[in-house]
Symmetry: D2
Subunit: 143 residues, 4 copies
């Protein structure tokens, strides 16, 4: 099963369907739901890299990714029943932070773009350096 998407040339692509729950009475996808789609993309990007978020959180030194900043451009509306793709492209990493570029597409059409700053924190919210094995996984993916 490739529900979790695939990485090609350093870009993770996750297919997803627009359901009733994603729309609002304007007929289009509710704006905040693009952020959900992007979070699914990031979670499955980590999954494909072999990074187990559940193990990270439950481990001795609980680690969790949190979104610090997100610049969202809502370009064109997605609609009920659309088949979309979420693209996740890792960018710069420095200390406890890294950048990702994300897009939501319907075929060739770009509907939504986001620049995302993610931080790694421990169980009490302190920023933590990205561990070397995680860094390596990101770097391999970026090639």
């Amino acid at each position: 099963m490739t529900m979790e998407g695939t990485i090609t040339s350093g870009v993770h692509r996750l297919p997803l369907r627009v359901y009733y729950e994603d729309t609002d009475f304007s007929g289009n996808v509710y704006h905040a739901n693009y952020l959900k789609f992007c979070e699914r993309g990031r979670s499955d990007f980590l999954r494909v890299l072999g990074i187990d978020q559940n193990a990270m959180i439950g481990g001795d030194t609980a680690l969790m990714f949190v979104v610090r900043r997100m610049l969202c451009d809502f370009l064109r509306p997605a609609r009920f029943d659309d088949l979309l793709v979420v693209e996740t492209t890792p960018g710069e990493m420095a200390g406890a932070r890294f950048e990702l570029a994300q897009r939501v597409l319907r075929g060739e059409e770009v509907l939504f773009t986001a620049g995302v700053t993610v931080a790694l924190i421990d169980g009490v919210g302190r920023p933590k350096r990205v561990p070397p094995e995680m860094l390596n996984a990101f770097r391999k993916a970026a090639r």
Copy 2:
């Protein structure tokens, strides 16, 4: 502030507004969101009774209410901008379980009804008897 609603003759009433996020492309409130409205009603019913869910969960003997069963009747659609009221009426209590009747109204119109069975569980999911002080709070409210 009476954001958390009021209890009159044993019935808790919570006002709430329908926002974009609550609707779907049919133009009506998305069906699963009535369950969210009911959960807000139950949470604020406990709040008005002086039961602090946060303290319960964080305490030595973590206690949490979970929904076991819900019979939902979707009678008439709510729409964007509607001002609704969630009514919560406590019913029978026995051991770790109790029953609630809930309704969502727009003025006099009943839009949604639910019969809800809630259980009290501890941190590892085992059913726990409702503590006497909680029982007393429920009984006072029912008068």
Copy 3:
């Protein structure tokens, strides 16, 4: 792509992943979200049957399925990262209404069951008989 699931022996099965958005601070899937999962199952069941909800809604005689009643049993909690399957089994049909049995499973474990009554309505909310071609599609699936 089999994102929309498959029908085997009259039962539609849709795989889905539990993301951050589906959980609440109890650590488990938020109860109302099982209804979203079931709605995805019903939508993709129609899709696999070749019934185009978008065309139905947009056509001259707008037709839409709405949930009238749902009896929900929350048996065991699903958790972050779980891979779930939504099973949809069509039941009795009579006039404008039909019954469906739905379950959410993690492997062999049944986490959630629902008995769902769905009605077909037109653009102004009046009940409409299920058209013969739709009935045929359901009957073929049930075999």
Copy 4:
């Protein structure tokens, strides 16, 4: 009832409660839900100004506000049961677009800030100038 908040010195303030539905298994409010909170703030800001979104959408010349861009900073986590305030401060208006600054606070603590660009569109998605009576309402509020 002041459920819809109040405007003081040009800033609209809307109180809201964090419920189960708003949190995720990290224990904090799910990041995309701050956008829902902000949308509630904008809707109720319009309501307090006397602008009826429902009438706008349903009228001869359907008009709707859509978010074009949003720069979101997630500063500190909100948690279950928190009582929050959404602040909405209107900014520049030019043609079909205007800017808003929004913040989510818990007491004095700023948890989330957003710079929001909203556009007014008609029923087929074309940008429309903000009508003079709406402009006047905004300007009065800003004083």
